[in-house]
């Protein structure tokens, strides 16, 4: 008897859960149901943009989409959770059940490979030709997101991963003249800060340490050798990589107690407890935004930035992009959304709010000020390298293996074991 009630209750709960999963944002209640006989067709846009800044950017793009496409309604299927952890798990079950959203957010580059291999995505080369996107996106970007000549996503923004954030007051107190340019200078600066009793380098949870590793690898190896690590037949066992990992170990030995996530680690720099933090440029919004979503700090006085040591002239990039899943219920609507996401107007509406720069070269530069102006300038001139932690250079299984190796390394501090694990990860997952 009881198990029957349990089963009934479970069925009701499952119903409620699936309803709420489809519900998306609270403002969706008044919208027509999917697949109904309404005149307006619904476009389900799946993302993980629910936080301050990013959700505002999505709203701004949505407004443009609705103006341009009066026959479609926008269905916001956003799933909360930093860097899309939960969203990706839900997305995977949707794709396996052959009920994809009309378009979903993913990091451009190798992260999409799993979906491509599973045959979940349509290629977008014809859309690129139609909109002449190859002329407006940097050629290196096109090259790094192409899989055997085919492109499967439309990048809507660009973030930079190799940014060194620092507290000018703490540096001055420790007698460090300015942002260190090389890894050797970086270690010397860390040592000086340590002597003053402050935290030389703040870190967050384990993924932020992988994030640190990619900047150290790039800074130690240089752009070309770094990019070569992700090509077939790459040599992860080389003495150059050993040296880079030794430097990583040295730098990590100056790290403070790990914080819960990247925000508390960044806050240590803003509060003057720590000198340095290496984090992506989304940290700028956190430092700079008014207190509801950020720390309300003054740029250049309370915090400052520079390329991560040894990486000046290279943009270690990552990008949020939208895709066209095979079997999308509303393919035309999805294409209409992709056109907005690719357009100058769409990107200029989205990016200043999200705190990133547009992937297009012809953006309205006056919209991007302070840090973003710097970033836009560097983006147009720098060499490009793809981020590991954020899905550009490596696919998801590879990244999981790298994160595992780094997590184990934090316990053992064993460089040969780390290098072996990284080499094995590359060999098992190279595309």
């Amino acid at each position: 008897m009881r198990s029957r009630w349990t089963a009934a209750a479970a069925a009701v709960m499952a119903g409620v859960l699936s309803l709420s999963a489809c519900g998306g944002g609270g403002d969706q209640a008044a919208q027509p149901s999917p697949g109904g006989g309404d005149a307006k067709k619904q476009v389900e846009v799946f993302s993980w943009w629910t936080g301050p800044g990013e959700a505002d950017g999505l709203q701004a793009m949505r407004k443009i989409f609705e103006q341009q496409n009066p026959s479609y309604t926008f269905f916001d299927a956003a799933v909360a959770g930093g860097s899309g952890d939960k969203a990706k798990a839900l997305l995977q079950s949707k794709l396996q059940a052959d009920t994809p959203p009309d378009t979903f957010q993913g990091h451009a580059g190798a992260e999409l490979q799993g979906y491509i291999k599973a045959g979940d995505l349509e290629e977008l080369n014809s859309l690129y030709d139609e909109l002449k996107l190859k002329d407006v996106f940097p050629p290196q970007l096109i090259e790094q997101i192409s899989v055997q000549g085919k492109i499967y996503s439309v990048p809507v923004n660009i973030h930079r991963s190799n940014v060194l954030w620092f507290n000018p007051a703490v540096l001055e107190e420790a007698g460090v003249a300015g942002a260190p340019k090389t890894l050797e200078e970086f270690v010397a600066a860390l040592e000086k800060v340590k002597a003053k009793g402050k935290i030389p380098l703040s870190v967050g949870s384990e993924w932020t340490v992988t994030h640190l590793l990619e900047s150290v690898l790039l800074g130690s190896l240089g752009t070309d050798a770094y990019n070569a690590l992700f090509k077939p037949g790459a040599d992860w066992n080389s003495p150059q990589v050993t040296r880079a990992l030794e430097q990583f170990k040295t730098i990590l030995s100056y790290a403070g107690d790990p914080q819960d996530d990247w925000q508390p680690a960044a806050k240590q720099v803003a509060d003057g407890e720590a000198a340095f933090n290496i984090m992506g440029d989304w940290a700028y919004g956190y430092f700079h935004n008014p207190p509801e979503g950020g720390l309300g700090k003054q740029s250049k006085t309370d915090f400052d930035w520079a390329p991560a040591p040894g990486t000046e002239g290279t943009y270690l990039w990552l990008s949020d992009s939208f895709t066209l899943p095979k079997g999308a219920k509303n393919r035309d609507g999805a294409l209409a959304w992709l056109k907005v996401a690719a357009s100058k107007e769409g990107q200029d509406a989205f990016n200043p709010k999200k705190g990133s720069i547009p992937a297009r070269k012809d953006a309205d530069q006056s919209l991007y000020t302070d840090y973003l102006a710097d970033a836009l300038k560097d983006w147009s001139g720098d060499k490009l390298a793809g981020s590991i932690q954020h899905g550009v250079a490596v696919n998801q299984p590879w990244l999981a293996a790298v994160n595992e190796a780094v997590g184990l390394f934090m316990g053992t501090k064993d460089v040969p074991a780390l290098q072996k694990a990284l080499a094995e990860a590359a060999q098992a997952n190279a595309q």
């Binding site: 045959g119 949870s205 107690d257 819960d260 293996a401 997590g407 184990l408």
Partner: protein, 293 residues
């Protein structure tokens, strides 16, 4: 015909749940074990039968050893802690205190909170910040002059700290079990022991505790199986980090990050088997006991 009339409605009533449990519990268990014995290491490949290969190769991975060790340490700390604390609370209650109903409700209440909510609160309480950066317990310890600790970030004893929220959550439930057990011991037995010259401690040692054995065993089973498959608490406190890795978190990573269904199914199989090691002997034992009585 009349016999049919007695059992048929009952059967019809339970049939949906029998079917549902058959398919969604035992069917899925079987499917999981079958998947664990294939080489389906990504979502698209078909997967050939490879026998126990995955079960063996898992032991070559350092991360698996770490997560198993963590699960063992967590289980020991959690089961012992909840049993001792629950027993002690029940003991106090049994001695008769004023407002027992209120205390019972207070101690039982944490069980109504989800592990996720517990975890989010305890993440703050167990913050590893020290000295002037301390918050939560470390701030309190600093104020009263006790040494500060890294809590779940401690490389050696972190998983014991991770068991604290679980103990907090479940000891009230164990208390309720033990209290029912204590109340089930007839007063005459205690009286008889006292007449025979037993001390008050002796009454507990020789009369009450032996009679509590079935309760203790039930509590052990319930705590043990919660402990071996713990997932939500760990993720809520520390996320998917190696330093607090347990088999269930490793399974999530294998399925959703590494995209390796066979590996995930193998870990899931080990979790089910480890729980079965606890539960099956208990079931056999309780069936035998029922037959005997």
């Amino acid at each position: 015909m009349s016999r049919v009339r007695t059992w048929l409605p009952g059967l019809l009533l339970v049939a949906p749940s029998i079917v549902a449990i058959g398919v969604f519990v035992y069917g899925m268990l079987g499917w999981n074990f079958r998947l664990a014995m294939t080489d389906k290491h990504d979502e698209v490949s078909e997967g050939r039968f490879v026998g126990l290969e995955n079960f063996i190769s898992l032991w070559d991975q350092p991360r698996w050893h770490i997560s198993v060790n963590h699960a063992i340490m967590f289980t020991i700390a959690f089961v012992l802690g909840a049993l001792v604390l629950g027993w002690f609370l029940a003991f106090l209650m049994e001695k008769g205190i004023r407002g027992e109903g209120t205390f019972r409700a207070i101690y039982l209440f944490p069980m109504a909170v989800s592990f996720v909510a517990t975890g989010i609160v305890w993440r703050w309480l167990m913050n590893s910040g020290m000295e002037e950066r301390a918050v939560g317990f470390n701030r309190l310890f600093d104020a009263i002059g006790l040494p500060q600790w890294q809590w779940f970030r401690d490389p050696d004893w972190g998983m014991a700290a991770m068991a604290l929220p679980a103990i907090w959550q479940m000891s009230g439930y164990v208390m309720a079990l033990f209290l029912a057990g204590f109340r089930g011991v007839p007063e005459e037995l205690r009286e008889a022991a006292r007449v025979d010259g037993c001390t008050e401690w002796g009454v507990y040692r020789h009369v009450v505790l032996p009679l509590l054995r079935p309760v203790t065993l039930s509590a052990l089973i319930i705590l043990g199986h919660i402990s071996l498959k713990v997932f939500d608490l760990i993720v809520a406190v520390s996320g998917k980090q190696i330093i607090t890795d347990v088999p269930a978190v490793f399974m999530w990573v294998a399925v959703f990050d590494s995209h390796d269904p066979a590996k995930g199914a193998t870990i899931a199989s080990y979790i089910v088997l480890s729980v079965a090691v606890f539960v099956i002997p208990y079931l056999i034992w309780s069936v035998r006991r029922e037959r005997r009585s």
